[in-house]
């Protein structure tokens, strides 16, 4: 299912953050958004997920033709939107296994119970891909996790929930190179004809491991430049200075 964002304007406390974002992510493609701090990248991801800190002023966000903006956060998730958080919240006292189970249970029809044996089998196989210790299942969600563990946990949840549209918000921040490779392995294992990815990152490094089909540059609430994966390399070399010089190429 394609994710289509059209002329999206959004404010936080009357301050415009997104000023007309246009973006289409057809299924099967990986799109990266890069850009300087404060350009609105993370805001875009939260608005797609439905965070109520933001006021959507105009524009549309649809997935497979369905208007996401009219759905609750949990409905969007069950429809297939997944956000891997830059700073995942802690849920004290709730084990990872129970948390992921509750998320899967929420996707079951009324009156049907998740098969516990099949669930654990599936969970362990995904954890093996991410090289996670089995003890991890009984630890409380993100509580006392290192930065790397938190990010791996996000990818594990993504693998378990099998979303249609995956948004990764600065998943590379706080990761050393080994952890980065493992996370990328998980993401790459999920790439498929049916699934779209939006990878938000500050650095080109992540894109060495998760090769995007398209790269977009965001600045001051708009997509200002789009290109192939070579655009990321250009940005790595010359930085975002071109934005100041006014050489804007609208997508």
């Amino acid at each position: 299912m394609s994710l289509v964002i059209k002329d999206l304007h959004a404010n936080i406390d009357e301050t415009p953050i997104l000023k007309g974002v246009n973006l289409e992510i057809p299924k099967g493609e990986v799109h990266a958004i890069m850009g300087p701090n404060g350009s609105g990248k993370s805001t875009l991801s939260k608005i797609i997920a439905g965070h109520d800190d933001y006021d959507v002023k105009s524009g549309t966000v649809t997935m497979g033709g369905v208007n996401l903006l009219e759905m609750d956060v949990d409905e969007r998730s069950r429809a297939g939107v997944f956000l891997a958080f830059q700073y995942p919240a802690e849920v004290p006292g709730v084990s990872n296994a129970n948390f992921i189970r509750a998320a899967l249970q929420a996707r079951m029809p009324d009156g049907e119970e998740l098969d516990a044996v099949a669930y654990y089998k599936n969970l362990y196989s995904k954890m093996d891909v991410l090289e996670m210790d089995r003890k991890f299942t009984s630890r409380a969600v993100n509580e006392g996790f290192s930065g790397g563990e938190k990010k791996r946990n996000e990818i594990l949840q993504m693998m378990m929930l099998e979303p249609k549209c995956c948004i990764l918000d600065e998943t590379d921040s706080g990761l050393d190179i080994d952890a980065l490779k493992i996370v990328a392995k998980g993401v790459n294992a999920m790439r498929s004809e049916e699934r779209g990815f939006l990878v938000i990152t500050h650095y080109q490094r992540l894109l060495d491991y998760i090769q995007p089909d398209h790269v977009h540059v965001m600045s001051d609430g708009q997509i200002v430049k789009s290109g192939g994966k070579e655009l990321a390399l250009e940005l790595e070399e010359s930085g975002y200075d071109f934005l100041k010089e006014g050489e804007l190429v609208n997508s």
Binding site: R78, P88, G93, A106, L161
Partner: protein
């Protein structure tokens, strides 16, 4: 103390889980004995006559009444809501004049149906060593497994205890909690009926829990059970109590006194899951006395009632005695859970531990009151107190009044308190995974109490989790 729970399967668990709506029903009254409305020395005599009390008990009651009338309401420190109890409108004794039955088949049909709907007979079959089921003022059913009886275990109601086992009962009755301890212990002393008397002989470790179930069926009623548990040297016992009432328009009063005596090396665990309907004033005095090397644990969960005031205590009278209070309170709209613990160190090298977790939802209010007392002449005493409060909405309230009196410098005490909220970010995170808001909230609340819920026997922790889920439903919107 532990016992084997591995034999309980999922089906049994489902069968024994009860929820609050389940308790909200009542049957027409069928009372042979009714002390009428209001409290006077005639009321006390009426109860004594019906129960055919020995003289010493009748005197005990009258002294209780006098103390009750003399004592002011403790509204100098406690909530003013106490003033809304109208003692002149309460009925103090209601019974059908039947002795408790040893077989469910002999219990009157409406009483049997009541306890069946609450799942009590099923629980008994599944994992209990004995059950007492009280309906208004008296027990309708009381039975203990035969092998325990052969071993010398006594498990009867308080009336039978004081008559048939006076030599064990009387020396401890009213000794752990004197009549004048507080206004409500005095009230209970005047009009008590029902409750359990338990004696565990020396060295006997009872594997399965004993259970009491307290049921209020009648309106404008006061239930005043009186429980005394004596664990003789080296013995162990676990006692669990549950309670429900229908939700009437008028206030109902429940005012129990529970005394525990753990002799040298004995262990008592007392577990409560309090789920009264939200019109019940629940004003209960609970205290245990732990002798040398003995251990008393109160595991206390308060979910129901309009106002609960309850501070289980342990007097550590013998060296190396241990006392513990584990407490979970959930205060929803219109509820005030005023709970805590009293730890009185009265011998060297005694240890106490208090862990309290409270959750306030909507307009609910929870209060922690603790008292830890370590006098100057002792040495080597330890106390640890932790109280954590979770607030669900901005209107919820929580307050903490810890009082730790430590004299002398040869002791170790620790106190930690925290107040937290279910943050927007946490909820957003859970909802982003597809979990609906109410389910996310109940997951967060269950997470908050998870560590303590493990302390309950498995059958109860399942029920607890379900109750919390039910309470959280509709509390968010």
């Amino acid at each position: 103390m532990s016992y084997d729970t591995s034999t309980i399967d999922q089906e049994t668990q489902d069968a024994i889980s009860v929820d609050q709506a389940k308790g909200d029903f009542s049957f027409p009254e069928n009372h042979k004995f009714d002390a009428g409305v209001g409290l006077s020395s005639d009321t006390v005599d009426y109860i004594s006559n019906v129960k055919d009390d020995p003289d010493w008990v009748r005197e005990f009651r009258h002294k209780g009444l006098k103390t009750f009338l003399d004592k002011p309401m403790p509204t100098n420190w406690a909530t003013k809501d106490l003033e809304n109890i109208d003692f002149d409108k309460i009925r103090y004794y209601l019974s059908d004049g039947q002795k408790p039955k040893r077989s469910w088949d002999e219990v009157p049909p409406e009483v049997l149906e009541t306890f069946e709907r609450l799942g009590v007979p099923e629980q008994e079959r599944a994992f209990l060593a004995g059950v007492e089921a009280q309906y208004d003022s008296e027990a309708a059913y009381s039975n203990v497994k035969e092998e325990l009886e052969k071993d010398g275990v006594i498990f009867v109601n308080s009336t039978e205890g004081l008559k048939e086992h006076e030599e064990i009962f009387r020396p401890w009755f009213g000794k752990v909690i004197p009549t004048g301890d507080n206004k409500f212990s005095a009230l209970n002393s005047a009009v008590f009926s029902g409750g359990s008397f338990i004696y565990i002989p020396k060295g006997l470790k009872v594997k399965h829990p004993l259970q009491a179930y307290f049921r209020i069926n009648s309106e404008n009623f006061g239930q005043f059970e009186r429980t005394l548990i004596i664990a003789d040297e080296g013995s162990e016992v676990m006692y669990m109590e549950g309670c429900t009432a229908p939700k009437f328009e008028t206030a109902t009063l429940h005012s129990a006194v529970v005394e525990l005596v753990a002799m040298k090396d004995a262990k008592i665990q007392y577990i409560t899951v309090q789920n009264w309907s939200s019109n019940v004033f629940n004003l209960v005095t609970k205290r245990g006395m732990a002798h040398e090397d003995a251990e008393i644990r109160w595991i206390d969960c308060n979910i129901g009632s309009r106002l609960t005031m309850k501070y289980p205590g342990v007097v550590m009278k013998g060296e190396r005695a241990r006392g513990e209070v584990i407490s979970i309170a959930l205060a929803n709209d219109g509820q005030h859970q005023d709970t805590g613990a009293k730890m009185i160190h009265a011998a060297d090298n005694t240890t106490s531990n208090v862990i309290s977790k409270s959750i306030s939802v909507g307009e609910g209010r929870s209060t922690y009151r603790g008292q830890v007392h370590i006098p100057k002449n002792l040495k080597g005493c330890k106390n640890n107190t932790e109280c954590d409060a979770l607030l669900i909405n901005s209107h919820s309230k929580t307050d903490t009044y810890p009082a730790i009196t430590v004299r002398g410098n040869q002791h170790v005490t620790q106190h930690e308190a925290s107040v937290s909220q279910v943050s927007e970010e946490m909820l957003f995170y859970m909802e982003q995974r597809g979990i609906p808001e109410a389910a996310a909230m109940s997951l967060a609340v269950n997470g908050f109490i998870n560590e303590l819920a493990q302390e309950f026997p498995m059958e109860y922790s399942v029920e607890l989790k379900r109750l919390v889920e039910l309470e959280m439903e509709g509390s968010v919107g």
